[in-house]
Symmetry: C2
Subunit: 363 residues, 2 copies
């Protein structure tokens, strides 16, 4: 079974149903997407309806109002903020800044860093974290860090859920030449437990570029909305590679009211603090190897006892889908080669349904 036979993106349900010869209308719950199950906030639909008439005008080219709202929320200057067409857009912009240079990617991780580096002809080295815990030994990175022009690191890491501490990030930054870039993709940082902010480091390290998504926390991935936080110089350089009007009107209009909805943010934190550890423990009890995660998803594989009974991750994926649960395969994650599955933390009853199905699948 080769990588090529799997869809590039795990959430491509149609391709997976076809692969397993299930009908196109086979009912399933999506456990593959790492999205906040509480969102979108209930007022969003009405807000969007009110904004629809604005689609007949071009967005204001510099997105002043949205950038100002983010700057206030993050405690940085508006010149340190760049709005992007989702988080993926920012990854490609960061790679473009280092066309033809040397890239370092901490793996296993989101496949788009490698795709972006390939598109912009970077020579890439991978620093592979070791299964089954995938912890980062920063000392082992001291040498590679000095040799790269751009480093991609995901925090918390997709798909492992592991979290590099602020101290370790600062250690890496202090080893790096000032012309290099450390791209820390924090697409899931607002869906992470015990995560110290890196924004204070921006004032001291011009190499630091933080990528953020607004569509996972607010459950609006179809809208495409993310942003970059970096030095004003770094933001200006990234903006040179960005086509004009990259962010659609509705996304830009939503920035300020989304950030202002503190009640939604609080409900989300309460849900995560309750369900994240509960699901992790239950997955372990079900006989799975579970990578210690700080975020709203778990990387898992059948543990030794289940493996002995012939249960592979590929087989588990197929059984789960037959039972109506679409998990995320890991063929498109460098260095995982499908040996693991990723499962999203959802709301309490949805997690219970997954655990029940899982129980049937591992019997």
């Amino acid at each position: 079974m080769t990588t090529a036979t799997w869809p590039d993106h795990g959430g491509d349900a149609a391709a997976l149903l076809k692969r397993f010869r299930l009908p196109a209308d086979h009912p399933f719950e999506d456990v593959s997407a790492n999205l906040n199950p509480l969102g979108p906030p209930p007022w969003v639909a009405d807000w969007l309806v009110e904004c629809i008439s604005g689609l007949s005008r071009y967005p204001e080219p510099s997105y002043r109002a949205a950038r100002r709202a983010i700057a206030e929320y993050e405690g940085v200057a508006p010149e340190q903020v760049l709005l992007t067409n989702g988080g993926a857009d920012a990854i490609f912009l960061a790679a473009a800044l280092h066309t033809g240079q040397r890239g370092l990617i901490v793996t296993p991780t989101f496949g788009e860093y490698a795709r972006a580096c390939a598109a912009h002809r970077l020579v890439v080295t991978e620093h592979a974290l070791e299964a089954p815990r995938f912890g980062l030994q920063t000392a082992a990175l001291d040498e590679p860090v000095t040799q790269a022009d751009v480093i991609f690191l995901c925090r918390p890491n997709n798909p492992t859920g592991t979290l590099v501490s602020a101290v370790e990030i600062e250690r890496m930054l202090s080893c790096m030449p000032t012309t290099a870039t450390l791209v820390v993709d924090e697409a899931f940082i607002d869906l992470a437990l015990d995560a110290e902010p890196l924004t204070p480091l921006l004032a001291h390290y011009p190499q630091l570029v933080l990528l953020r998504s607004m569509t996972k926390f607010y459950t609006l991935p179809g809208l495409r909305l993310g942003y970059v936080l970096a030095s004003a110089e770094h933001v200006a350089a990234l903006a040179c590679h960005q086509p004009p009007w990259s962010v659609n009107h509705l996304a830009a209009e939503l920035v300020a009211p989304l950030l202002a909805d503190t009640a939604f943010a609080q409900r989300t934190r309460q849900w995560l603090a309750r369900e994240q550890p509960r699901l992790g423990q239950a997955l372990t009890h079900a006989g799975l190897d579970v990578v210690p995660s700080h975020s709203c998803f778990y990387l898992v594989r059948p543990g030794p006892a289940l493996c002995q009974r012939g249960l592979s991750s590929a087989l588990l994926l197929e059984r789960l889908l037959h039972h109506g649960m679409l998990a995320r395969h890991t063929y498109s994650f460098a260095a995982l080669d499908g040996d693991w599955l990723r499962l999203a933390v959802r709301d309490g009853s949805a997690n219970d349904r997954l655990l029940k199905v899982l129980h049937d699948c591992v019997r």
Copy 2:
């Protein structure tokens, strides 16, 4: 008066009002944006409202349904279609394919070709068309065409409205090495009079890449929606440079129903055939130099008699704005340096209002 003191994008009304010390709430009509005044089609708002719940899912990564609808509409294969985040996105993708190589831009034209080439470090030569008619002498291009890796040409050209014929395009293609690319930006082709289609050339010339916009004709620039038509190989190469989920869910969902609305297309063609020549003649009668345009906008400047009375394009822009008409300055168009203004063709009564104000401004 230097370029730096003008906003980069002509439609940045807030910056222009500030420049001319007008209040931020100074009322004006926008004559700067080249958009179909008949749109969006009346059913679009309701359709978008129905699609809003889909924003909580990722778009299907390959946009199969939208690409199939475009392929059928254009008479090409779905593999020859790439959906893009507006037309500007496609320009940057095309430049990225030729990073560090030699670019040729036919000017004066849309500023984003030069910006995209600069971002991707192309060495650019400009082929400048001559005022006041800005006609293309293809014989003069025979030599430069053989020396470029990528050529950017806009058809009809923004901001002149001039249209290169299919015969001339084929002549250029036949001179080009097969490894080179001719990017013909047809963002306004569906808002052009007497334009022969270039799609039949796609079957014979792998160098040809056509860029299309769906947001000018349907008056939805805030939505961001465009597409590329090219050989399957060219489309695959461009797709490698495109971040995943580049096109938002609402834009992707609108593709098929927009293309199916033939009544709207017919109304638009009738309006254009009526108002485009009428406005052009009236602008000439008002004493302006008017570039012969095939599209829904005119490049104009005060004619000799008005110049003698001290009326420059900059002064005319200022007077028009004072009278509530926002024209498009041309400082951001290579080789025009603000010497001209661009005026959009709007509906009959709006054109009458512009002509009345213009009459007051040139007295």
